[in-house]
Amino acid sequence: MRNLTWRAGAVAAVLVTALAACGGDPATTEGTTSGGGGNTIKVGLLHSLSGTMAISEVTVRDAELLAIEEINKAGGVLGKQLEPVVEDGASDWPTFAEKADKLISQDKVATVFGGWTSASRKAMLPVFEKRKALLWYPVQYEGLESSPYIFYTGATTNQQIIPGLDYLKEQGKTKLFLVGSDYVFPRTANKIIKAYAAANGMEILGEEYTPLGHTEYGTLTNKVVQAKPDAVFNTLNGDSNVAFFKQLKGAGVTAESMPVLSVSVAEEEVTGIGVDNIVGHPVAWNYYQTTDTPANTKFVEAFKAKYGANKVTSDPMEAGYNAVYLWAEAVKKAGSTDVEAVKKAAGGIALERPEGLVTIDGETQHMYKTARIGIIQPDGLIKEVWNSGEPIKPDPYLKTYPWAGGLAS
């Protein structure tokens, strides 16, 4: 009997703690500082802090927090300090929608910086459109979207995929093999690549997709090797890259014999893959830790100072960091955090950022960005070997590319 009491007590204690903790929350957040009033401006940060996507997204949140801290140190926005409200999307798309709703309707944040995967953005999009709230999305993506309530600070396809193809063409790599994770971005990217190839006399020798989180690349490697392409265009995501590069290296493929151009491998992923396995392969982004601008020197320094000297910076982190500054600039210009006013003010804003000059295109709410191809170095960093010379105007629907006619219909 005593035993029973003890057991019951232990379990009850855990449950009661959980429940009591839950009981307190709904009303408390209400009625405090809303986005515009009071002494602070609340902004929401919504990334996956747990689950499979946490690996990537946590660093973006860190970069955004750094930007907020810097802005606050410089006096804040409209004389008010920014107050970050951080939520966890838990690598689960519906959770992103739920938390976005919470940030907007409960915390009444002025804007939200968040998301990584296309799926999380698609899940959040209806929430932001219906609540008429703003989302700043910091990751390169597949394009074909232009929501009036989202600002896209990462690259769209014509600022990353197409420059990547231009580079391969310049290098004389005309026979390509396409490898990607099975989701929207790789499939859309590959559609563009195939259209580009058809228009530019390039040949696609194969197109393969693997489930997200796939780690067995023996067969796929065999298919690639048998097809003997000049280069591989890689849109794999996350952990799959580790398995793919390890197994590709095992099969004797080197960057010299068959370069693999990746669009989802940045500085932070290189260590996990193992520098050995990926050294010499090209990647396509708009920013590298080594990008030589005064703003970047400052950014890298500040980031390492805040989070540790062994931390690296990458493109999505920089895009997240930019997002906060761009929004703050728009708020200053509008003189208010009102969503419609900010949207109106945002068009044409141009800032010198770590990646170079970034200008907001008011029409699409995408950014003018400079495309950069880099090569992975033995120290794990990426060295730029090619760039587009000037910021490319964003064209999410590829309207200005005649060969892409059928894609966005």
Partner: protein
């Protein structure tokens, strides 16, 4: 010799004094759910509660299959998904008018796939919500239970089914929306889906459906079939020698639980506004089983309670202490399994008995 059906008014079992208490409790919970909650909670929180209640419907099915029937199904997400996609497909087509749904456009699909055609019709779509999980579960159950695949094998098989289902859905992007799933709905049977009134109506619908299904499940458990189900759980082979085919009993129960999951999925879609493969994989399916265990798998009320409590706890901790959630979930789970295998309901019952004993002494 046929069984004699003539009923004799022999009262062998003692009267059940708890019966009216149960009814009173049910009524009280119903009042709280239908009247108090919509008044007290703000729309956002009410929406969350609606979501938990959707999960509670799935949990009810798990309680039936696992708690009563001993079939640990780790793939309820599959049926949840089938119901959810059926609803999602209808909503998508409805929003698109005569056009293609948005994701098909960017996936390069030019003509509406035949699979989608029936979902234009709202009645047909709603029928599919029930029929598709029903047929899939009945088919799978027949195949699996007839061959006496059970216990751990069944659990692992259903888990693999969930994994396979996700891969299949993700891989057919043009047909299913891939990883993104189906989202961005506008109209729900003539109402603006995100309007407060619609959402409140949806909440009430979910609560009422849960209540009705609960009563139905309760009736089932109390019936001869329910006794038979317990017997199958505790001694499947012995039941054969009573002249019943356990495979039939299990298939029926498994199918009922699948249909419940399907209905829950269909309600979930307008409430939350999305259905995606991430919702029906191995982990969400397992989480629901966990919730049932925490609430108390041997009682239907435990299953429902567990789903609501765990849903709430998950929201709360991911808002307040996201890092601690996994630890807490794991720890709570280990604790419940080792110390209170009958869950919250079991602990409550044991405490009640104890107080009674003390009061009597």
């Amino acid at each position: 010799m046929t069984a004699v059906l003539e009923k004799k008014p022999v009262q062998v079992a003692p009267k059940e004094p708890r019966r009216w208490k149960g009814a009173a409790l049910f009524a009280a919970v119903a009042v709280v759910a239908l009247v108090v909650m919509p008044l007290v909670l703000e729309p956002f929180r009410l929406g969350l509660l609606a979501k938990y209640l959707c999960y509670a419907i799935v949990a009810l099915g798990i309680g039936l299959a696992w708690g009563q029937g001993g079939m640990l199904t780790l793939g309820q997400g599959v049926f949840f998904g089938l119901g959810g996609y059926a609803m999602g497909m209808y909503l998508k087509l409805n929003d698109a008018g005569g056009d293609l749904p948005d994701f098909m456009v960017w996936s390069g699909v030019e003509q509406l796939p035949a699979l989608w055609a029936p979902f234009r019709n709202p009645v047909l779509a709603l029928a599919m919500v029930v029929l598709v999980p029903l047929v899939v579960a009945a088919l799978l159950g027949t195949l699996v239970f007839r061959q006496r695949v059970r216990g751990a094998y069944f659990a692992i098989l259903t888990q693999a089914l969930a994994a396979a289902m996700v891969i299949l859905l993700v891989g057919q992007q043009g047909l299913t929306g891939g990883t993104n799933g189906l989202t961005n709905f506008f109209d729900f049977f003539g109402n603006d889906i995100s309007a407060e009134s619609t959402q409140r109506g949806l909440y009430l619908t979910v609560a009422i459906v849960l209540g009705v299904l609960y009563l139905a499940a309760w009736q089932l458990v109390r019936s001869r079939f329910g006794r038979l189900l317990l017997a199958v759980r505790d001694g499947e082979d012995r039941v054969r020698f009573l002249g019943y085919n356990p495979a039939t009993v299990k298939t029926i129960t498994f199918t009922i639980s699948a249909v419940m999951a399907g209905i829950a999925g269909a309600l979930f879609v307008p409430v939350v506004g999305i259905i995606s493969p991430a919702l029906l994989g191995v982990v969400p399916s397992l989480e629901l089983v966990v919730a049932v265990a925490v609430g108390g798998r041997f009682a239907l009320a435990g299953a429902v309670l567990g789903a609501v409590v765990m849903g709430y706890a998950k929201t709360y901790f991911s808002e307040e202490l996201p890092d601690a959630w996994l630890y807490l979930q794991g720890a709570l789970f280990i604790l419940v399994m080792t110390l209170a295998p009958k869950g919250i309901v079991g602990v409550a019952g044991a405490l009640r008995d104890r107080f009674r004993k003390e009061a009597a002494a």
